[in-house]
Symmetry: C2
Subunit: 343 residues, 2 copies
């Protein structure tokens, strides 16, 4: 793995991405990184979200490391649809990977789980469903207005992400995949997901399976997050469930994600789940752990499992050593993580 | 309010409904109740889910009190689409009301909230969205299969449920309504919901408002459920969010719901959120509190606010007096609640 495009973005994005690069450089010297200026700041300055020329340049990289984009001054949807979702769709990043662990030392909101007990990964479909952008409206701003949103699901898209989930489960200790959908109401898409899941499951007799409706899964993520190993689900359900999983494991401040094109035909993208947090930007107090863990996902995706493991170990040591209530310094955390990861 | 149709249903349904009726009879003597045999048992016996003649008879009642329907032996969708959703749509029950309170004495899973701090109600749209049944598939069981689900939203349907939410908020202490949607991705439906919300909000300057994306709301329901008063949202988001709200306030065993046609053109339906729980059916150990709280919602809907308050007070006393780990007896709980409600 050689060429990384770095989109530091807005708010705390540049601060946390700097630490992720520091750690990457420490464990894998020689990574080539090119910076791209995208996000709210660029949009304000130039009106551009993602010029075709930049998209083409990004396509020439192996991976994208993204900090955070967005700002309250940008109208909703502009950067989401124009940048984040555009990249996911243009680069066919159909595996949206979101691990959640309750790390020792982290005080989660649940009194029912102990650190170390929760270790799950949501494999969220990233290129279909209600995110397809298929919808419209008629008679806008009249009493007769009607608005639609269409969830599009293909056997192609569903099967490949389910295959990825089973492959991941096969490499994990518990070897279990939970399919989450709403087959009792969304009968057409639900049936496609369920039949495809069963077909792929039949090829993996060593992997245990279960099915849950999305409402039940949302509940069990709160009451028994320990029960999950790999969860595979559609784009929108995955969006919701991964925020619940983050919440029960200490917040989105620790949540990493990868938008992955497993075949490597296009670059994959790695980014913390948190946003640009303009309220604390520029103060050097943002927690870079989610960005660093996203860099670890990047390492893992490109076959540097040993380096990824060292980063994860550094994060574990960092989190275990924190004193609740003490304000952290972004740079210092990055220094500690980099030092620990090469020690 | 005079005529109630009772659908005791399957599993623990009859056991908990009996207690709800006991309490109703105690606080409002003279309620006329007619029993209807619907659910898994009837389907197994006769193949019928909801005959037109029964639907017509139900329409002649003021309200329906439902225990629980369903059984693992019934194929998914049969009773959901054929009975529960059929009733919601046929009787235009567009307000799906789901209160969540963390009652004193109830041990919730969160270490961040104290009993009494959480008191929210989700006003879930009940007749539109992805529940409309608009979808289909092509090339089934081939690699070319495509399946769609369409979310249908009308100004008519969105406005009336938002109006209901504001009216409810106006009668509550905190007077706050949170709109939950996903406007940054579901731009057409999201825009309809957001514009309608703003228009109705302008008529209610005394009610505070906020907007949250569904993923953020799912997270905040876990980390800060105290922040919510009235939440208004679409059918599917409401399905998911109410299970999270139930989970953080002690589980669906305590969660009540009403499927309401506010105009009274059709009967409204009141039912515990929990299912038929076949694993504990027939043992007399199911908690009837959710069914009893659903009966309280029924009382409130029909103008018996004082009787509803007495039922709620009885539930509060019951829950505060429970010893963790002691198995309850369904009948005894019903007796205590009835006695307390009239004391
Ligand atoms: C910003 C938004 C478009 C995005 C999504 O909905 O996927 C975000 O919530 C996420 O989870 O990455
Ligand atoms: C049983 C199912 C159709 C139903 C729903 O999705 O509305 C249930 O989950 C609920 O919340 O009442």
């Amino acid at each position: 793995m050689a060429r990384i495009a770095v989109v530091a973005g807005d708010g705390i994005g540049p601060e946390v991405v700097a630490q992720a690069r520091k750690v990457l450089d420490a464990v894998l010297p020689g990574v080539q990184a090119t910076e791209y200026d995208l996000g709210a700041a660029r949009w304000h300055r130039t009106g551009e979200v993602l010029p075709d020329s930049v998209l083409a340049e990004l396509a020439g990289h192996d991976a994208i490391l993204l900090g955070a984009v967005g700002d309250p001054t940008v109208p909703p949807g502009v950067l989401e649809r124009g940048l984040l979702l555009k990249l996911r769709f243009a680069f066919d990043q159909y595996v949206n990977l979101r691990p959640s662990r309750l790390w020792p030392g982290v005080a989660g909101p649940l009194n029912t789980v102990k650190p170390g007990e929760v270790d799950l990964v949501v494999v969220r479909e990233g290129t279909e469903g209600l995110y397809a952008g298929a919808g419209g409206s008629l008679h806008r701003d009249t009493p007769a207005e009607v608005a639609t949103e269409e969830s599009l699901n293909t056997r192609h898209g569903v099967e490949r992400v389910i295959r990825d989930a089973f492959a991941r489960a096969g490499r994990r200790e518990r070897r279990k995949v939970t399919l989450v959908h709403k087959t009792n109401v969304l009968t057409h898409a639900g049936s496609l997901w369920a039949r495809t899941f069963d077909a792929v499951a039949a090829e993996h007799p060593d992997v245990a399976t279960e099915y849950q409706h999305v409402d039940a899964a949302a509940m069990f993520l709160v009451t028994q997050p320990q029960r999950y190993d790999v969860v595979v689900t559609d784009n929108l359900f995955g969006d919701i469930l991964t925020d619940i999983a983050a919440a029960v494991t200490g917040g989105i401040g620790l949540a990493a994600s990868g938008c992955i094109n497993p075949e490597g035909a296009y670059p994959s993208m790695f980014e913390p789940v948190h946003g640009s947090a303009p309220d604390i930007a520029g103060q050097g107090i943002a927690d870079p752990v989610a960005a660093v863990l996203s860099a670890a996902l990047l390492l893992e995706q490109f076959g540097h499992g040993e380096a990824a493991a060292r980063v994860n170990a550094a994060v574990a040591a960092e989190l275990a050593s924190r004193t609740p209530g003490v304000t952290l310094r972004t740079e210092e955390v990055g220094d500690r993580l980099a030092a620990h990861a090469v020690a």
